[in-house]
């Protein structure tokens, strides 16, 4: 459940609280919501409205989840069956046994791509963010403004020469074009992590410096430990973003052996004309489960992370 305002993670405070303690309760009193429930007699109206909103938001997920377990013939019933009469795994069997798609392979490729961006991308972004946030060097502002520019720049502005570059490196037909760029950092992650690092008082670094620590040691042993919750949020964002990416895999991954899950289902639909709807639905459910799982496990961190990112410029 998404609770009331998690303690605001602003430049002033870099504390991400994991559980809603009394502290947060007090804060909520202060930050209180203006539109309260009103008199109890009107409550039921509000709940009615909320349920009215909830149904269309939930229905597609309900339809997907139940649909994947319907028999291939029920799934195309007219009028539709609102509940699977028989719960079957036929659709999943079809998708795993058909020669058209290789789900384990696509899942493995997706995992590799996500690992590159989540682990390497976040680590490198943290390094870069440290440089921007904690070291006052000549040209820092100008260089940081390029992070914002790249964040906003449409990828179309650079894709053709990048393609030519990766092609000449012999990278096409491997996962390299969709993994290696993670090593240069991710603008949004850099932006987010920098905001937090700026919130840590400079005296903390100063004290470590007097004890003879160099910048790398300060980064690793002083700043990073304080950032663990933020790093997790950044990594989660990165995971969702990478998992969702479709354009770059579509452009670069030409051999089916390198397909990711999103690209795999696209090619499946594209190349097999009107495919078995049941198989397509089962695949869609498989595709959606990992992110939904992450949401259930980490929703508190995720939503607090979305909240803190709400400032630009």
């Amino acid at each position: 459940m998404i609770e009331d305002s998690t303690p605001e993670l602003s430049r002033q405070s870099v504390i991400v609280e994991d559980d809603s303690g009394t502290e947060q309760g007090k804060k909520n009193e202060l930050a209180g919501a203006p539109y309260r429930g009103g008199p109890a007699s009107h409550r039921w109206l509000i709940y009615l409205a909320l349920i009215g909103i909830a149904i269309p938001f939930l229905f597609p997920i309900y339809w997907l989840t139940t649909g994947a377990f319907k028999t291939p013939s029920t799934i195309v019933d007219v009028p539709p069956a609102w509940w699977p009469v028989h719960w079957v795994l036929t659709n999943f069997r079809v998708i795993f046994n058909s020669g058209a798609v290789d789900i384990p392979r696509y899942a493995w490729n997706t995992l590799l791509m996500c690992l590159a961006w989540v682990v390497a991308g976040t680590a490198v972004s943290a390094l870069i963010a440290y440089g921007f946030a904690r070291i006052e060097f000549l040209g820092r502002q100008v260089l940081f403004s390029t992070v914002i520019i790249v964040l906003i720049l449409p990828y179309w502005a650079t894709i053709a020469p990048q393609y030519v570059l990766f092609h000449s490196l012999g990278w096409l037909n491997s996962l390299a074009p969709v993994t290696a760029p993670a090593l240069t950092g991710v603008p949004f992650s850099i932006f987010l992590l920098r905001e937090f690092m700026r919130g840590i008082p400079l005296e903390v670094s100063e004290a470590a410096r007097l004890d003879g620590a160099n910048e790398m040691q300060i980064f690793l042993f002083v700043i990073l430990p304080q950032l663990t919750p933020v790093l997790i949020v950044t990594a989660l964002f990165q995971f969702a973003d990478t998992y969702n990416s479709f354009f770059l895999p579509l452009v670069y991954l030409t051999s089916p052996a390198n397909y990711t899950l999103s690209l795999g289902i696209y090619q499946f639909i594209q190349l097999h004309g009107a495919p078995d709807t049941g198989a397509m639905v089962a695949y869609t459910l498989l595709l959606s489960v990992p992110l939904l799982f992450v949401f259930v496990v980490a929703q508190k961190r995720l939503t607090s992370g979305v909240k803190i990112s709400g400032r630009l410029g």
Binding site: P34, V150, A157, G273
Partner: protein
């Protein structure tokens, strides 16, 4: 005789020490600045490399390609001057793609902001189990774009989809064809955007929860009801969130691609009634957005010269809008710190 030795006015020892200390400080500052420059560049080196190799060079190369005839393989690209740009003006698909994209931007962005804010206002009540409702509204945004498009193509498919079944049950005789109707495909696509409004809503919700309560009380004392409270207190204080959501949604709207590709592919194939026509731009090219067309030109036709000209045009438009937006922000975005 001689003049008494007039010793040079001795510098008080303290002062000379000070001077030396100052010098040392300057030198230290200099070396500190040098050290900082070295460290700063070391830490940001990965970004610098990426900036040069993956952004700056490709950006310049795109501009260069746009004046050439180039298939991405045959070097060197052949210089053709402004031909690509001239071709753009006469290309009916550019007009179509541009107008589809403009339609999408001017509808989806305001819609996202308004619906996102309305939902945030409704979900900002402090009543039992409100957290569950917030989760319900947020969770669809965790469904992958590809998955969302396929689910919607399926739910809205005219041949036995649940939406049309409901409409039929409600007595509607002529049911809409949704994604298979060139006039309805973009509005139907808006429904996916609304369904995945989670991040926009959450950012508004956080902003609403940060509005200090005493301001509402002050407004109440001035005799302000709900509406003045909203326009005079809430709105000005959440302008940073409005700005942030505006920028993000604009970027998303201009780069719409994945949903359109998946809708085009799956809507036609689900209702096999429609037979072929799983063209890349959806029904009658109604989902041929700028990005979709660019993909076709660049990576299906491998016309890198023309594609680059299209990309340059898009970049210029996006850059101009962004600059204007950031400039205007100074006038209407209220940062409370």
């Amino acid at each position: 005789m001689g003049l008494p030795a007039n010793p040079a006015k001795p510098v008080p020892p303290g002062k000379s020490g000070q001077l030396r200390a100052q010098l040392r400080e300057v030198r230290q500052k200099g070396s500190q600045a040098r050290r900082n420059l070295r460290n700063g560049l070391l830490f940001t080196a990965p970004w610098l490399v990426g900036l040069l190799v993956l952004q700056a060079y490709p950006l310049l190369a795109t501009v260069y390609y746009s004046f050439t005839n180039f298939d991405g393989l045959q070097f060197p690209p052949r210089w053709v001057g402004l031909t690509n740009y001239q071709n753009m003006i006469h290309d009916p698909y550019v007009k179509l793609a541009a107008s589809n994209t403009v339609w999408w931007v001017v509808t989806s962005v305001p819609l996202s902001l308004v619906v996102g804010l309305l939902l945030a206002l409704i979900l900002n009540q402090r009543i039992p189990v409100i957290g569950a409702f917030r989760s319900i509204v947020y969770v669809p945004s965790m469904v992958p774009l590809a998955g969302a498009a396929i689910i919607f193509a399926w739910i809205f498919n005219p041949a036995g989809g649940p939406v049309n079944a409901l409409l039929a049950a409600a007595g509607l005789t002529r049911q809409p064809n949704w994604f298979l109707d060139a006039n309805l495909s973009k509005p139907a696509l808006l429904l996916i955007t609304v369904w995945q409004i989670g991040p926009t809503m959450i950012i508004f919700l956080a902003a609403l929860q940060n509005v200090p309560k005493d301001l509402y009380e002050a407004c109440e004392l001035d005799g302000g009801g709900r509406w003045p409270k909203f326009t005079r207190v809430t709105l000005p204080l959440i302008t940073p969130a409005v700005f942030f959501n505006l920028v993000l949604n604009l970027i998303w709207a201009f780069s719409i691609f994945t949903q359109a590709m998946f809708i085009s592919a799956s809507s036609a194939s689900i209702s096999s009634a429609s037979g072929v026509g799983a063209a890349i731009g959806g029904q009658q090219n109604s989902l041929l957005f700028y990005g979709v067309y660019l993909y076709e030109v660049l990576f299906q036709d491998f016309d890198f010269g023309y594609g680059s000209a299209l990309a340059v045009a898009l970049t210029v438009v996006v850059a101009a809008i962004t600059v204007a937006l950031f400039r205007s922000a100074k006038r209407w975005v209220f940062y409370n710190d």
